[in-house]
Symmetry: C2
Subunit: 329 residues, 2 copies
């Protein structure tokens, strides 16, 4: 599969550059500058452009023309960045991808409005690629938006709730993270004129890989490499986040171990020097392995969903799944 | 025209009630409650439902079926309320329609997210009425959203700029206020299967009446009745807002009068006891009459745009225009 991997990497890099170029042109010469300059600050050179690439890979997987989907690919990136800008305000985050967050660089009002505007431009771009099947595409896109708002609300709710269950957590990450990845695959498949079966298969791939991706994110917070990750290990524990690991640990722990975990909730986080202690607790309770099993479960579901794709296309998605799951950052 | 007026009033009241009922059901039983309860707080029993009614009047004007447009009518109200929630955060407003604003009742984060969610539900509702002509309707709706973001950004920009010109002001209110009224008429006309000429005519009605409506709003701040208006007179001057009246006054004033106006900009507003003094200045400079002339100009343009409608439909819009322009609140 060596030469195939090379091909996928080349596809990824070539298409990423096209997306980058299209994004960098997208807000040029638009007025008022007071609105589009902050928007551009967020959009330029940010991240891996994973969501647009999933749109394009899905178009390709059903035998469609990539040229019919570049605006839609840009649209999902605008939608994604809208969520990041508003989430960062809500989390009072200082940095995002190593850059000062928008509301810190400007102010909260500018960031609220620039976020809204990114969403408006997302729909504008999406509509450019809607020909004949507009309703279906816009329904999928809008469902992604509805879900991400619901997921974010659950996430905020869980910050203050003390009794979050594992199935509630899975629902939250499905809405907040996986639904948008599912949507990217879905609209790619629709834009590529895929059959209903293909649309369903790719949507299912997206949803399941999205859940796996988020649990992997939770796991990396404990097992990741600080240098590669670009942030310190154990941040979720310090912030008292109710991650997969934490909820699973609480489910399994008894006696003193349980008391120790409840303390994290009560005190809304732990001190830096306690991190290794809690990591040991996670290991004792076996939750790191449980998380790995869960990631594998959802990854297998994702790959199983696309078993009827051609072997080349399937391999392309397998390659992507590995990129996402075996990542260090 | 007496019996005709009665008929319009009955139409207005009957349809308003239907819209009200549909809105009150729209968010029921949706979860998470942490998201949809704040959204419902904003949507319930709020305002005249002018925008949904414009959608329905436009459907009717082109001979379409109202029953095909109730979801779209609700959608424009959701979109409108999304803008109000975010604008109120940006303005740090305490009250809206006599009710505590959302971000004051809950908090800023809840209001940001509830606003986003209202917008997501707006698209969801709109899509229910999109059959066959989805792209055109969604393009018009999305343009309304893009414009309102641009208009709001200009409005915030003008708060700190000292040299706002009258044509810039007109552009701002066109984007911030008129574009959405235009959009309501436009999507109504499209949903009713109007001809291109009819769609254009009703859009032009909406745009021009929207501009007239906003200048009327500026005028009422000085000439309105405090009790009917439900807020004190001269609030725009106290806040140092660059309204039509203020910009026009600055354009005309010389010598001491000009100095007095520049003081409003420098000091970002005036004291309550200075209001009557500035009202006198506006009268001396003749800007109240200029505003009335401008309102008449845009109202005439609006009515001229729909001159080819049937006399009953035209009268209905004339009745609405009078309701909007000869209002006291």
């Amino acid at each position: 599969m060596g030469s195939e991997v090379k091909k996928f990497e080349l596809f990824f890099e070539r298409e990423r550059k096209k997306i980058e170029k299209k994004i960098s042109r997208s807000l040029k010469n638009r007025e008022p500058i007071s609105l589009y300059e902050p928007g551009f600050y967020v959009m330029e050179e940010g991240g891996k452009r994973l969501r647009p690439l999933l749109v394009l890979m899905s178009v390709k997987a059903v035998g469609g023309k990539l040229s019919n989907a570049y605006n839609a690919a840009v649209a999902v990136e605008f939608l994604h960045n809208f969520t990041l800008v508003h989430d960062d305000i809500m989390d009072n985050a200082e940095k995002r991808r190593g850059k000062v967050t928008l509301h810190k660089k400007y102010d909260v009002n500018t960031a609220i409005l620039a976020g809204d505007s990114l969403l408006s431009v997302a729909y504008e771009f999406l509509l450019k690629d809607c020909n004949g099947n507009s309703k279906k595409i816009l329904e999928a896109f809008t469902k992604g938006l509805v879900d991400v708002c619901e997921g974010q609300s659950l996430d905020k709710e869980f910050e203050i709730r003390k009794d979050v269950l594992l199935n509630e957590y899975i629902l939250m990450i499905q809405l907040k993270t996986a639904a948008m990845i599912e949507m990217c695959c879905k609209i790619g498949a629709i834009l590529g004129n895929g059959s209903d079966k293909e649309i369903k298969a790719l949507s299912s791939f997206g949803k399941n890989i999205g859940i796996a991706f988020q649990i992997q994110d939770d796991l990396l917070d404990i097992t990741g490499n600080e240098i590669e990750l670009g942030k310190f290990i154990g941040g979720d524990l310090v912030e008292g986040k109710k991650t997969y690991l934490f909820i699973k640990a609480l489910e399994k722990a008894k006696g003193n171990a349980r008391k120790k975990l409840l303390k994290v909730i009560q005190e809304k986080g732990i001190a830096n020097h306690e991190i290794s202690d809690y990591k040991d607790l996670y290991i004792q309770l076996g939750v790191l392995n449980e998380a790995k099993k869960e990631i594998k479960k959802y990854t297998n579901r994702a790959l199983n969903a696309i078993k009827d794709l051609s072997s080349e296309n399937r391999n392309h998605f397998i390659w992507l799944a590995e990129l996402l799951i075996n990542r260090n950052k």
